[in-house]
């Protein structure tokens, strides 16, 4: 990370204000018109629109492996996704993904 201390605080500050503004928006404006149905429809997709695109390069081209795909990174990702999808529980996906990725390392330490 190459940001200065004040840049990091700036990021935190703007995220705090921005997040509050988003959350308070309609609660704050009494009598504001309802959100447009088309906009509402798109807003619902923001997490599934942002997170997969953020993750894909990290899985396929991990910087720790010099940007080359590795079986370990890939398997950990598949397990996390598969288990979280099947169980519908975020925690189990995390447990499965971490077990695959960090398991061999932990066993090696024992």
């Amino acid at each position: 990370m190459t940001y200065t201390q004040s840049e990091i605080w700036l990021i935190i500050g703007i995220m705090a204000v921005g997040t509050f503004a988003i959350r308070f928006s309609f609660l704050g404006l009494i009598g504001a018109g309802a959100i447009h149905p088309l906009i509402e429809r798109m807003l619902r997709f923001t997490p599934v629109a942002v997170l997969p695109g953020m993750v894909a390069p990290l899985i396929l081209w991990p910087t720790s492996a010099g940007g080359e795909p590795t079986l370990l990174h890939f398997m950990a990702a598949v397990m996390a996704l598969g288990v979280a999808y099947k169980t519908r529980k975020v925690v189990w996906g995390m447990v499965a993904g971490c077990a695959v990725f960090y398991g061999p390392l932990v066993i090696g330490l024992l």
Partner: protein, 236 residues
């Protein structure tokens, strides 16, 4: 409404908030560990959790900061993850819009996935609830979760300083993101949005960090909206 029913609504909220602890505690720990490992100070890591209280977007900001993305892109991508909460705000407004300003401001601060989802389900099942009860219930859920979120971020940050630096801690982030997204893939439209996000992000990976992601996110949101409209029309 009497103080008794308001109080019992608060405790009903507390009760419904308890199961979320299982998820909130590990995530908060993780944010603390990864925040410190990424190079944030203790104060910065904790401020993130106290001021922002939005897990996915905090992790997203951290990931882009690890990639040294331009500050504008860090903010845009991380705040984009939170845009869905404008929808929460709009959905809560008919129920809580009549509350005093300071209560609405507090609810705005605490308006995250778990507090929203529990509350809106409760309000819809119990239309006879009075407004102060609705406020009390919301705060009951939220105030179980948010102090733990902050406390365990601190615990995680303390732990983070002890994790050996040769362990690839940062790979927890993609594992966490995938685990968060998978349960959200509830319909064809959600899957389509996710696939478009991946394809566009990968093909624009050569652009400055964070910029391709924003284009990917916009394409994916439009895709989600369009596919959902189609599938609804296809229904008889």
């Amino acid at each position: 409404m009497t103080a008794t029913t308001t109080k019992s609504a608060y405790w009903a909220g507390v009760r419904d908030g308890l199961p979320y602890i299982v998820m909130v505690v590990p995530f908060a720990l993780l944010f603390g560990v990864v925040g410190i490992e990424a190079g944030l100070s203790m104060a910065q890591t904790i401020s993130f959790s106290v001021l922002v209280i939005a897990g996915a977007s905090q992790f997203a900001a951290l990931q882009l900061m690890l990639e040294n993305a331009a500050i504008g892109f860090v903010l845009l991508a991380a705040l984009a993850v939170n845009l869905r909460m404008a929808m929460y705000s709009a959905a809560l407004a008919p129920h809580l819009g009549a509350a005093p300003f300071w209560q609405r401001a507090l609810i705005g601060y605490l308006n995250f996935d778990q507090s929203y989802m529990s509350s809106i389900a409760k309000y819809e099942d119990n239309p006879q609830m009075a407004m102060p009860e609705k406020v009390a219930y919301f705060l009951g859920v939220a105030l179980v979760i948010s102090p733990l979120w902050c406390l365990f971020t601190y615990v995680g940050a303390r732990l983070g300083a002890t994790v050996p630096s040769d362990i690839e801690v940062a790979f927890i982030l993609p594992i966490a993101f995938l685990s968060m997204v998978a349960p959200m893939l509830k319909s064809l439209a959600h899957v389509a949005a996710a696939v478009v996000s991946i394809i566009v992000a990968l093909s624009l990976a050569g652009l400055p960090a964070g910029s391709g992601l924003l284009i990917a996110a916009v394409c994916a949101m439009v895709t989600g909206g369009v596919v959902e409209t189609w599938t609804e029309r296809a229904k008889p």
